[in-house]
């Protein structure tokens, strides 16, 4: 009976949950293994979603699967995968052993550690924060304030921190940060209408539907200023405000700017556990440390190991709607595989 086959999903973020939901509806038994004590992944930490400022909670509420055939295991990090007699064996550090007929990887993303870009002063200068910090502040319903407790008069948002940056080993584009920068600039402007907001960008890669409209709205309605320029360094003034040195590459001039706060738009990286998962099987990572697809055009959800599939941002950085699409298409691939195997 094909329908009682068991599928293990590593990662209980939105990709894992959505794929689990589709697969249980198709009649499979599914186990989702989540490393944190809560499912939902990074979406739990975001305040609003681009480009419509919808709430992450709304997405999470729709995809929480409730099905007797679905088991959730929390606080468990799978360390290795082995294929034995056509089935997969999964192990964690505490000797958990799980068998599955097919495996779906949904390990998602991790956020770049901004303190590695030492010249931007994160972790050193108190008024330098990251985009993740801002989401937390916004989500808690708090106002953005400087460390001294004052509303900032000027905030500079720095794009591409740890993204498209060979120096930190991330040559690829994290894709969703540009629009996040636009979204956060508008959020700051709504929160603090008197505050000047500057976005320093390398390129604005606004690839998605309605992203350009949001960019236009940022400029027209919120007077957000966009400067094409790369930040070279941040220093702290005596009053803990910040000095930026950057280059305005449209004017071809270096510039110095004073700001009360700096917000670093951190890039996105592959989950750190991916490397471990490639041992004892044919899984491969691509040059950016994400899982490599069997074919990136027509088998994007298929890994290099037969029977192991991928969903969402463990393939490359994705927006929420792309992640959900990817999860559904991965579920179809899993179903195809198990159905064909049965025949």
């Amino acid at each position: 009976m094909t329908k009682k086959k068991h599928i293990a999903i590593i990662g209980g973020g939105i990709a894992g949950l959505e794929a689990g939901s589709v697969l249980t509806r198709q009649g499979y038994k599914v186990t989702i293994i989540e490393k944190e004590n809560k499912t939902g992944g990074l979406l739990n930490h975001w305040s609003s979603l681009f480009p419509d400022f919808s709430l992450p909670g709304e997405v999470l509420a729709r995809i929480q699967p409730e099905n007797p055939d679905l088991t959730l295991i929390h606080n468990t990090c799978i360390e290795s995968i082995k294929k034995e007699n056509g089935r997969f064996e999964l192990f964690d550090k505490r000797h958990l052993k799980l068998y599955a007929d097919a495996l779906l990887l949904a390990t998602g993303l991790s956020v770049f550690d901004a303190s590695l870009k030492e010249e931007y002063g994160y972790g050193l200068f108190i008024n330098v924060i990251t985009s993740s910090d801002f989401e937390r502040i916004h989500k808690a319903g708090q106002k953005l304030l400087t460390a001294q407790g004052d509303p900032p008069k000027r905030v500079a948002i720095i794009h591409c921190v740890g993204s498209r940056d060979a120096k930190v080993g991330n040559g690829y584009c994290s894709k969703v940060c540009c629009i996040t920068g636009v979204k956060q600039a508008i959020a700051i402007s709504r929160m603090l209408p008197e505050c000047e907001v500057f976005n320093f960008y390398m390129d604005l890669r606004l690839y998605g539907s309605k992203y350009d409209a949001l960019y236009l709205e940022a400029q027209k309605r919120h007077q957000i200023q966009f400067i094409r320029g790369r930040l070279s360094e941040v220093s702290e003034n005596q009053d803990q405000s910040l000095q930026l040195k950057a280059e305005d590459t449209l004017q071809g001039r270096p510039l110095r700017m004073q700001a009360d706060m700096i917000l670093l738009l951190t890039g996105l990286e592959a989950a750190r556990q991916n490397e471990n998962l490639c041992k004892n099987n044919h899984l491969e990572l691509d040059e950016n440390r994400f899982f490599k697809s069997e074919n990136m055009q027509y088998h994007r959800n298929c890994s290099r190991q037969e029977g192991i599939f991928m969903a969402g941002s463990c393939i490359c950085p994705m927006s929420v709607n792309e992640t959900l699409d990817s999860a559904r298409s991965a579920a179809i691939e899993v179903d195809n595989y198990l159905t064909q195997k049965e025949r």
């Binding site: 030492e118 050193l124 108190i126 360094e233 220093s235 702290e236 005596q238 803990q240």
Partner: protein, 353 residues
């Protein structure tokens, strides 16, 4: 204010040899501040009991010529190969470089040889043809400030003085200036890396002072070779130094600590030049902010006579700092030569009359 301190040194921790050094002197330093290298050697051998070879046969590394396109890279490599050959002949494996330009240059050549082994073979051939010598790559290369950094706590234990204002009991406020070629070319060769270099701030802390961060801490002192060597470009050089002084002035530092011969010279002398141009100093008095290298400072704390280590060669007078630190000295002996005979004193010291 949160200052840069040794806690920030997470990413870069270099290996520094502990003994048996070969000293590679600076070519310009012995003219600017001749006591600095002398006191370094003395501290190492007499106070710390370490062995170091001071070889009269080694030459300039020709780094200034190289950076100004006067000396071709092939020649530069051959000169550095010769220094290594001299080390080999003396049986030394741990190089200690006095100059920051040289330090960057040695690493540039070594990295080139790693990436392009044919360049190393060429340097070997050139050296053999020109001098008949062979060389080995040193086991360890440290800048002299790395050695003082390594033994900073031992120096603190031996030192009768501290970086403390004896009148108030407060730690002296010290800004550091790290030479660009120490860390900015090869961050992993610097203690603390390029962005949060801690080699000098760790000394300041170990010796009782308070390191003070300021916005232009990482900015160049203005010693960029292409700028100051070409006379019409010197305004660019001095404007860089000015940027630094303007930036550090609000923090009212008691002292600037440097690790580069050029920076030490420029931060000292450009204060005078700026005072003459603009009629202002960046200290509360007409003297200016005193500038010391790490060895000069270590020497002072260890009780060396300030005039024996050449501190009267500084434009910004060190006497107010010596008084603040409670260091005993003879004002009368300041301008006497090695034989004790009085020399003509300068017209004035400090930045403004």
């Amino acid at each position: 204010m949160k200052t840069l301190n040794s806690d920030n040194q997470q990413l870069f921790d270099k290996e520094i040899a502990g003994d048996d050094y070969y000293y590679l002197r600076s070519c310009i330093r012995q003219n600017f501040f001749p006591g600095a290298e002398k006191v370094f050697l003395d501290i190492l051998t007499q106070k710390l009991g370490r062995k170091i070879i001071d070889d009269e046969h080694h030459t300039t590394c020709s780094g200034i010529g190289y950076h100004t396109d006067i000396v071709p890279f092939d020649t530069f490599q051959a000169i550095i190969a010769r220094q290594f050959a001299l080390m080999k002949e003396k049986g030394a494996v741990n190089a200690v470089v006095s100059c920051i330009t040289s330090f960057g240059g040695y690493h540039e050549v070594l990295e080139t040889w790693k990436e392009f082994p044919e360049e190393k073979r060429k340097a070997q051939e050139n050296l053999k043809k020109a001098t008949g010598r062979d060389f080995d790559v040193p086991k360890n290369i440290a800048h002299a400030c790395d050695i003082i950094y390594k033994y900073r706590h031992e120096i603190a234990r031996l030192a009768p003085y501290k970086l403390v204002n004896t009148h108030t009991g407060e730690p002296l406020r010290v800004v550091d200036h790290v030479g660009c070629h120490y860390a900015k070319i090869f961050p992993d060769k610097a203690v603390g890396g390029a962005e949060k270099t801690t080699v000098l701030t760790a000394m300041i802390e170990a010796w009782g002072g308070q390191p003070v961060n300021y916005p232009e801490r990482r900015h160049c002192c203005g010693f960029g070779f292409r700028h100051y060597l070409v006379k019409p470009n010197r305004s660019y050089s001095i404007s860089n130094a000015r940027k630094k002084f303007e930036s550090m002035q609000p923090y009212r530092p008691d002292l600037i600590l440097t690790n580069c011969p050029g920076c030490n010279m420029f931060l000292d002398r450009w204060q005078y030049a700026l005072a003459q141009i603009e009629g202002k100093t960046y200290s509360d008095d007409k003297n200016g902010i005193p500038v010391l290298s790490y060895e000069e400072l270590a020497g002072l704390l260890l009780g060396y006579d300030p005039w024996h280590i050449g501190l009267q060669m500084h434009q910004v007078d060190l006497e107010p700092l010596l008084k603040r630190m409670g260091i005993a000295y003879s004002a009368e002996a300041k301008y006497r030569n090695a034989k004790g005979i009085p020399m003509t004193p300068p017209k004035f010291t400090g930045c403004l009359e």
